[in-house]
């Protein structure tokens, strides 16, 4: 059982979040939402130890995240940045294999047991036919499958995904969300950021809503967090028909330049 406890977290450098509190345990999919510039990425980067905290604490299984050795942390917490970069024409298989780097694996010396782990992910994300293709030539949806396979190959306890469904077609978006739900169900903590409230509402077990200036508007069950008052306050929208439920669409009430 893994647990992340965030207490009075503030980050002031390279983004802005203020006084964030929440606890999340394995088996849960947490959606972090909020308007542009609300600090979703900043929060996720802080959870991945990529930005330094100004105050407050992030504890992972009771231990201060900043105190953990970088390799120790990398073995347990995987991070998918919003903009996935693949320089050079590395093969799909190599990209997946890089996920084992925190365990001391080297691309030109892959052991049989490492090969087994890589094969398992390649199979699980249906990448068999692509495995020798250069990863920088794949479509957005294919690439996101490769990235997820890379993030999971080391069997982490936590997966942090920044806008994993952004810029993908609606079908692939649903694939990605379903996969994240499955990953969380296999006893992991999955935290993802999204602008798509319907995804958060439909798939997430917990939701964290950030308002302007990085403050927390609400944390808890998605039904409770995405209430009409919060939606109006954060995004200037309300559900058509006045009630949020699965499949609902939204209408703009307050325009952003108002």
């Amino acid at each position: 059982m893994s647990e992340i406890t965030v207490k009075q977290l503030s980050v002031m450098k390279g983004g802005y979040v203020k006084n964030i509190n929440f606890i999340i345990t394995s088996g849960n999919l947490l959606a972090v939402s909020g308007p542009n510039g609300a600090g979703k990425t900043t929060l996720l980067r802080a959870l991945a130890s990529l930005s330094s905290l100004s105050s407050g604490s992030i504890r992972f299984n009771g231990r201060e995240l900043t105190q953990l050795d970088a390799k120790f942390r990398a073995r347990r917490i995987s991070y998918l940045p919003q903009k996935s970069e693949i320089h050079w024409a590395l093969s799909v298989r190599d990209v997946v294999a890089l996920g084992l780097m925190p365990f001391g694996s080297q691309l030109d010396k892959i052991t049989p047991s490492e090969n087994e782990k890589i094969d398992r992910q390649i199979e699980s994300f249906r990448l068999e036919k692509l495995s020798h293709r250069p990863a920088n030539e794949l479509s957005g949806g294919e690439l996101q499958r490769v990235n997820l396979a890379r993030a999971l190959v080391g069997d982490p306890e936590v997966l942090l995904a920044d806008e994993p469904a952004a810029a993908l077609d609606p079908g692939v978006q649903l694939d990605v969300m379903t996969k994240l739900k499955e990953i969380a169900a296999s006893d992991r903590i999955v935290i993802f950021t999204t602008h798509e409230i319907r995804h958060a509402f439909r798939f997430a077990d917990k939701a964290l809503l950030l308002g302007g200036h990085g403050t927390c508007i609400g944390f808890g069950e998605p039904q409770l967090v995405f209430n009409n008052e919060n939606l109006l306050r954060c995004f200037g929208i309300r559900p058509i028909g006045g009630e949020i439920k699965e499949g609902v669409d939204f209408e703009r009430i307050i325009s952003s330049d108002a």
């Binding site: 917490i77 991070y79 940045p81 050079w88 890089l98 780097m101």
Partner: protein, 326 residues
């Protein structure tokens, strides 16, 4: 790259080494060479082999290796196929250091003063670039700092030429800057090789990290990579290797750019594996270039740096066109 490809590259390096010993203005057959070397008395063939050609060939191979591995490391680190060793300023700075020695005619202090001045100024320039770029290891500021230091070193070199005491000194400096391995002795090798080897080892120590950096700096950091540590090793590794190389041979371009580019498909585009392959490839390329310079010069010897630059410019243009289309 499979192990037999590395063995093939090593064999080619050996072949280039032997060819470099045997061929030149006076060709020596292997039999003659063996006979001369086993002769206890000193003889002309032995003199040519050991005093003239051996240091020259060994320098060509080790300098080529330094340029190749540095180019591969910088391209991988900066994620930019157009990066090359001169980019971080150590080459131009080494040239400046050596030119200053020429200017003051400080040869009285011994033959080694020239390479030592080159290495020291390459290191100074690198430390300067390091502080200028900030210690976070951001690649854009690093390139900008390198370009700034390179142009400063270039203009100071021009200044030294401007105030050269006499036309002969100026001509000597210009010829030296063109890059050459003519008239180098074993002493040059002994003073520069240790620095080059430390540089190679520093660069080879980051090969796994370079692979991770293919996924971008953010992902690499999330995989446990310490970017600051990596940039220190890369900056000082290239400074030592390229600074030592430039201080002995003058400015030799193209090898650091082209060799990694040519070999990349053979190592599955893995930046880490490319390091060792590019060291071998650079040795082969500069070894062949130096042999070509010796064999095909008529009258004045064609300078090695001029030859590599002549081949390099069209290659660079072709690379840009290819990148634009890609």
């Amino acid at each position: 790259m499979k192990i037999h490809s590395y063995i093939l590259l090593v064999l080619i390096v050996l072949a280039v080494f032997l060819a470099g010993l045997l061929y030149g203005p006076a060709n020596i057959s292997p039999l003659e060479a063996a006979k001369a070397l086993y002769d206890d008395e000193s003889n002309l063939t032995k003199l040519i082999l050991l005093e003239v050609r051996l240091p020259r060939v060994l320098l060509a191979l080790s300098i080529g290796a330094s340029l190749g591995i540095s180019g591969a490391a910088l391209q991988g680190f900066l994620q930019n196929p157009l990066a090359e060793p001169a980019l971080l300023g150590s080459g131009p700075a080494a040239a400046l250091g050596s030119v200053i020695v020429f200017y003051f005619g400080a040869f009285g202090a011994g033959a080694l003063i020239l390479p030592l001045a080159g290495i020291v100024s390459a290191l100074l320039a690198t430390v300067f670039v390091w502080f200028l770029a900030g210690r976070a290891g951001n690649s854009t500021t690093l390139i900008l700092a390198g370009v700034a230091i390179s142009s400063l070193a270039g203009s100071l070199t021009a200044l030294v030429l401007n105030f050269a005491p006499n036309p002969f000194a100026a001509a000597e400096i210009i010829f030296w800057l063109m890059g050459s391995l003519a008239d180098r002795s074993m002493e040059h090798l002994w003073v520069s090789l240790p620095f080059m080897i430390i540089g190679w080892l520093l660069l080879l120590s980051v090969r796994t990290t370079l692979d991770a950096l293919s996924l971008g700096a953010e992902t690499a950091r999330s995989l446990g990579v310490n970017l600051r540590n990596v940039s220190i090793r890369i900056i000082f590794g290239t400074a030592l290797a390229v600074g030592a190389a430039t201080s002995v041979a003058g400015v030799i371009g193209f090898v650091g750019l082209a060799v990694p580019h040519i070999l990349r498909p053979f190592v599955g585009h893995r930046p880490g594996s490319l390091l060792f392959a590019s060291a071998l490839g650079g040795a082969v390329m500069l070894g062949i270039a130096d042999l070509a310079v010796r064999l095909f010069s008529v009258g004045a010897e064609l300078k090695l740096g001029v030859l590599t630059a002549l081949i390099g410019a069209p290659f660079f243009l072709a690379l840009i066109l290819k990148l634009r289309r890609g």
